[in-house]
């Protein structure tokens, strides 16, 4: 089996859908949102962590259901919007798209692989930031700038955190 093939699904077993308890599906995103909202008040540098995004990516990848992923993204995004100064829908739209595409990607790749998780974490962070910038400029007309280098660095940082977070969240899967 080549290295490329190992990144893809190699068996039916690997493509099985991961299941989580409902309280996990509710508590983890809520915790991520709360972290995003309150922790930066005390540790400003942690504001660069997009934990809600990473949680959405993880659940979308694990659920391997685009519809489930987009709903998770929408709910997390709207919750994040409701706790921020953003109009409701900004993060909701972006995270909806992230959840959808993440679920779509999770159907094709072995999302248990750390490299895949890193890459997807990095990619979806960039996607999230770029699309948020587009919406902010296009819909709200806000004069925000898209700093590529900073975004890339933060992407790497979030990707590293994503690998660790995903590993932690794997512990919360239902054991079949």
């Amino acid at each position: 089996m080549s290295r490329g093939e190992r990144l893809m699904f190699s068996s039916q077993r690997e493509s099985e859908i991961s299941r989580f308890r409902a309280r996990v599906l509710f508590a983890v995103p809520l915790a991520a949102i709360l972290f995003q909202v309150y922790v930066p008040l005390f540790f400003e540098f942690l504001a660069y962590l997009e934990l809600p995004l990473l949680v959405v990516v993880y659940f979308a990848l694990m659920r391997r259901s685009p519809v489930g992923g987009l709903f998770i993204g929408a709910l997390v995004g709207l919750a994040q919007d409701s706790l921020s100064r953003n109009p409701l829908g900004m993060f909701g739209i972006v995270k909806t798209l992230v959840g959808y595409f993440a679920a779509s990607v999770g159907m094709r790749f072995d999302v248990d692989h750390p490299f895949i998780r890193f890459a997807l974490g990095f990619f979806f962070f960039l996607f999230h930031q770029f699309f948020y910038w587009v919406l902010a400029r296009g819909l709200l007309g806000l004069p925000v700038s898209f700093e590529i280098q900073r975004t890339l660095v933060l992407g790497l940082l979030n990707a590293v955190v994503a690998v660790s977070l995903f590993h932690f969240l794997d512990k919360l899967k239902e054991r079949g």
Binding site: V67, L70, A74, L78, L88, G89, T96, L139, G141
Partner: protein
Amino acid sequence: MDTLLNRYRNITVLLLVILAQLVLLAYQVKNNQDVRIIRLWAVTAVTPVARVVEGVRSGVAGLLGNYIFLKDAREQNRRLRQELARVKLENQFLKNELATADRAQALLKFQAQTPSRTLAARVIGIGATANSRVVFVDRGSTAGVQKGMAVITPDGIVGKVLASFPTASEVLLVTDPTFAAGVISQKHHVRGTLKGQGFGSCRVDYVQNEETVEVGEWFYTSGDDRIFPKGTPVGRVTVVRPGPQNKEIYVDPAGLQGGLEEVLIVLDAVHQAVPEAQTASTSVYLAPPPPPDSTAEPALPPGATEADRLREHYREVGEAQGHKFGEGLPGSKPPDFNLKVPPAQERKPAAAAQAPQAPQVPNPAAAAPASRTP
């Protein structure tokens, strides 16, 4: 259908969720003019559709309206055309009435001025034959109309009575080929015979090529035909050219110009002098004639010569002495030709009182031949 929905279920749900959040977002966000984005989007999304719908609606309404309007306009146009035609007819009728009144007034005026006794008549019909130029008038024998009477208008001669019926008369127009009348030119007093040609103009025959007739000159009746009273206008010369034997002179009959509706039938003709032709330049100032010189001989009348004066003097001398020239036998006492007779002015009132009346032409119907047409 179910298969299609299942196949695109994910993307459909995605789009719906995105759309719902966009609506939610737009509901909250306001633009720089404090207008919510959702309203802006709604207006932006709805107004083009509304514009299209309104355009279609207005187009359809306009089309229907224009159709109805055009239908109304067509009806209105038809009604206006009818009204215009009616007004035109009414206007023409009024014009005709006015012209008739003018002609009647002119006829009455002419009838009052002319010395001839005339009878007004109205043309009530034309001859049934295409070639003949005859008309019927509403006066007949019961009104005193007789065959051969002249028919005139203030403008000129019209024709003559061809036949008289109790209530109508048949009039032969001057344009009929069988019509003839004696005429004389106004300026050069050239005599000729007016003949109809069957169309608009008439011809004056029997005028020698040596005679002088000018284009534009007027012809008047000469009275020689014993039908038309002398001095009635006939027409203006339009063409004059020398012919093989006689001049070819064409005249536009003045009596038939401008239509023929009312005419005068001459019951009792009175001859008049042919009016003198007017000089070409009437604007030249002419001083009044000098006062008569008592010592000088009385001025000669126009056209008279010394021989005429001498003959008049001899006549006065003869009248004063009761002598009649040509009756005395040879050797009898001649009149005193040196007798001073009073001036003519002193004897004028008496002479005017004894002057004979204007020559009266007897009833032409009685005097004229049955037909003078060639």
